[in-house]
Amino acid sequence: MDFLSFSIICVKVLIVFAVTMLTVLIMIYAERRVSAFMQGRLGPNRVGPQGLLQPIADGIKFLMKEDIIPAGVDKPVYLLAPAMLLIPALMTFAVIPFGASITLFGRDIPLQVADVNVGILYILALTSIGVYGLVLAGWSSNSKYPLIGGLRSSAQLISYELAMGLAIVSIVLLAGSLRLNDIIANQQGYFLSWNICKQPLAFLIFLIAIYAETNRLPFDLTEAEQELVGGYHTEYSSMKFAMFFMAEYANMITGAALTVTLFFGGWDVPFINESSMGILGVILSILSFSFKTAFFLFLYIWVRWTFPRFRYDQLMNIGWKVLLPLALVNIFITAGYLTLVTLN
């Protein structure tokens, strides 16, 4: 690998990291503002214009707070857990293509940190590792509420990853590849070629599962404030708590980006052939990707402030008795259709 390609990768990593962290800040602000608006309040509007500097003030507050490590915690695991959650959350975005490839310095540079040929498996693996962070945080805190939160998150993981994985399988069947670029290429064209139109059921299952995956309402049983104080992060304070917070939002961003990639054509702009338009096409594709992702991020907030939390048994019911059979039926139909098509 020569110096140029190395520096290109470094720049891409930096850009993706910076944009993700910036979006986390925007999301924290947006969450508070949108929730306030939906409840007829104004929300934070004092720090900076329209309260835009509020997340920075929050960050400074977290840094200044006393970092308390309770007596009786399993210290190495306790310290490891926030990192276990945050690092996979930030790593997941690496394989998501956020624009059409751009030609610079006489090279074709894909707008994606790593073009892994098993991109989907990579994402599924990393999001599952992230759950270890929750479980370890719950276990090491040596306290009842975090423990219950951690256990709930592992139970939730088992009942949702399965349905989510199966929903993705039907997409993989259509694209014939685990590479996210191939999946996007498979959806190029206009609205009807997007996977949302081809696989509406898989989309619904995936959307529900991704909410469970990111521990957002209506599936935020791991941190159900009313029952579990703060859930897995009850015993965490200061920057370690902030890391859990950032990880949650980073996971949301990845989840939204993944939804867009799998079901809404990724960076595809309908009716336009981006690769033939040069730099304008690249800009359009990035804008398209950002806009779609922003919508799904807004949907996260929107759903959170609309629906009440599922009860634990309801969550298990919908996971095992509804989503899993539906996902299996969906695969069966998709596979059957594809077999019929290829037979002729």
Binding site: F37, Q39, G40, R41, L204, W302, V303, T306
Partner: protein, 169 residues
């Protein structure tokens, strides 16, 4: 007679839950653009309803003299016993015989019932619409005669006795 209440049987369409979920989302989305109820306090202030009973004041007459004649009616009417009046002989230029040498109201004891202004024969004590007069010490919340007259100077243009809520009694 017993009434038979038929329990609601959800149809297949209801059991899909999707239409209901979308309806819920629509409601919260509409609320995004609704008028906000927040009053941004130091900049905006709540306008109390007519007849609101807030901080007291001692009225002055047209010549700028204190109206109060220290008759102790308000103090007697006060259920919280928060008014403390020391009466004295009026200075020579006054056409009244008595006036309050000191007039203190303990705002922490006061229940803002308005009995004092109803009892007053001279329309001298009055409750204004000022509601934000909190302070850091208990001593500062005992308001004396000068303080009460100052409140009058601040709220001169309002005559709360003329409010329909109070006058009708």
């Amino acid at each position: 007679m017993a009434t038979i209440i038929k329990s609601y049987e959800p149809t297949f369409w209801d059991k899909l839950y999707i239409p209901a979920l979308l309806r819920g989302l629509l409601i919260t989305f509409k609320h995004l653009f609704r008028k906000k109820v927040t009053i941004q306090y130091p900049e905006e202030k709540l306008i109390p309803p007519e007849g609101y009973r807030g901080l007291h004041r001692l009225n002055k007459d047209a010549k700028g003299r204190i109206k109060c004649v220290a008759c102790d009616m308000c103090s007697a009417a006060c259920p919280a016993d928060c008014i403390d009046i020391v009466p004295g002989a009026s200075p020579l230029d006054q056409d009244k015989e008595r006036y309050p040498v000191s007039f203190e109201i303990d705002l922490l004891k006061c229940i803002f019932c308005g009995f004092c202004e109803m009892a007053c024969p001279e329309e001298a004590i009055e409750l204004t619409e000022i509601y934000d007069f909190s302070d850091y010490t208990r001593d500062k919340l005992i308001i004396d005669k000068d303080g009460l007259l100052e409140v009058f100077d601040k709220t001169k243009e309002n005559n709360y006795y003329s409010d329909p809520g109070i006058n009708s009694n």
